[in-house]
Amino acid sequence: MSALNGVSSKPRVLMCPADYFGIEYEINPWMNVQKGSDPDRAAAQWRALYDALGDLGAEVDLIEPVEGLPDLVFTANAGLVYRDLFIPSRFRYRVRGGESPVFERWAEGAGFRILSLPEERRFEGAGDALFCGDVLFAGYRFRSDVQSHQWIGEQLGVEVLPMELVDPRFYHLDTCFCPLAPGAAIYYPGAFDDYGRSVIQSRIPRLVEVRAEEAADFSCNAVVVGRTVILNQGAPRLAGELRRMGFATRPLEFSEFIKSGGSAKCLTLRIDGEEAAAWKTAVPAAVEAAH
């Protein structure tokens, strides 16, 4: 067992300061190089998230920002964490390819065992693969490919449910689906087809449907710490629903990052496993059996 687990019971999150964040290319419908982001406002919004996490008792690991890698700030796309394993992303677009070695070095340094996908696969980490209970829910089509998900399911010995993403605005699973706890999640139905909606509805008993206008404000791209959800401030209805489900909410402003197609969740990677991942509390022996 590495130093990763057991040392601290505090939630651990990976972030990357927004020093070099900017809109330097267009790889999703949100990005427009003509309408760049405001560096000062971006830095302030990032700082507010960092502070909120600290406030909620989380330890935040920081990765050194790199000039020329504006999206390194979106650490959710670093890879997928499963116990002491880290599966580094293989980015769809070359412009983000430079992030992979940076994240991989960090993971090695943090004591993770690295599990590498086959060269030809495309996979964008926690952006497209989220545990809810025992199941790894996965999104494919725009960034990750379904074969990667199947490969990961087989390697980890977990059930994976790949779902096609059908709306290019919701190009990552974490833009339209957010597990809150085992058996509970929020999602935007319009980002999935009938098959995907059926899968989510049949496997997650406590579901909150996010309205189109709030989903378009990136409210599904939320960070869950304990029983608190940090989300974009433009989603009062969702915040109300979450409170009714017993979650506290922390609405923050992410307007500069939304220009790039990301929000709260995209800016974080949960190092010790998401709140909704059942394996966090399960007997670690199971992982040994899987290998």
Partner: protein, 426 residues
Amino acid sequence: MATTERTKPDGEPMGAVEEIEVRGHIIDSLLLPKILDRILQMGGTFEIRECVIGEKRTDPSHARIGVRADSPEALREILADLVEHGATPVHSKDARVVPADIAGAFPEGFYCTTNQQTQVRLGGRWIDVENQEMDCGLAVDAEAGRAWCLPMLETKLGTPIVVGHEGVRVVPVERPRESSLFGFMGSNVSSEKPKAVSLRSVAESIRATRAEGKKVLLVGGPAIVHTGSSPHVAQLIREGWIQTLFAGNALAVHDIEQALHGTSLGVSLSHGLVVEHGHEHHLRSINTIRRLGGITAAVDAGVLTSGIMCEAVKQKVDVVLAGSIRDDGPLPEVVTDAVAAQDLMRKAIQDVGFALMIATALHSIATGNLLPAWVKVVCVDINPATVTKLADRGTFQTVGIVTDVEPFLRSLAAELAADAAAPALD
């Protein structure tokens, strides 16, 4: 999971087929149903060839699926879409091709063909085999992307021939779903089948074949004439229901004997009695035709004015008369070189969509050997063994009707004549 299949109206398998594999968590993720739905939505069909479902939720499942589309382009489009959902084409190897090391024989280990639609993989592409025929070798032209069935005898030194089974696949003939003769009878041979239904189905098949622009082939034995059925067959030819005729010397001889003398093997066809010196009639008929230079010449000279052969000449039916060791004469048109006759028959079956084989065991088997499995074959004989023999020699698509040929042909001619009397086809 239901298997969905489709055939063209004539039972010929549709276009292109490729096998894909889907593995992983494909059941609860609904990926498998989604993939199957997409195949159908894109105009293809599928056949699940293997499906193993994991026992636990963490166990992967896997399925092997045959995907079929109208054309290779349509299939490529479907496969390109399915790959996005995790399907992978099952890669197989190209066929092994060896140049013939001697003329007139295949290399050792050659692939032996069947009469079912076959495809050969060359340069990563599946190519439809042309001139499908059982008991041949597979010759290929890799550059032109062509493959065809080649009779052993026609092998030339250096002809590229497929060796082994790798890279060769048979596309199974799908059973037609419609309640036709082929649907309800299968290939069971029995004298105890409702004849009226069989007859109507044969007539329907002939109409359908003609409507499609394909040819109807009649393979007939001399019993057609002996039983007094010549006028019925002549009528079928006259009305345009038969485009190709395979027979031996005997059918032609006795048909002409009837036309010239009113007898068949010396028996009067009008009152059924042996006519004095009647046994000479068939030889005198052969002699007359030989003196005139042939059947066509006899028709042109106005000597031969009725019967099957006369109508065949008038309607420009493609006739192949193949000789045998016991032939009298024979008639000048009879091809006495068996290999040459076989070759002529092979050429003549090119556009045949329906074959009616009546009262001849040897010619039926010879023709059955040449026909691809998707050509419908109806064999009519008073002897069930003839029909069984045909099916047993590989022409498994044969539907047998055990009956006396005269009432059968009389009814068939009447059935189709009623049709001909109907308003012109539009």
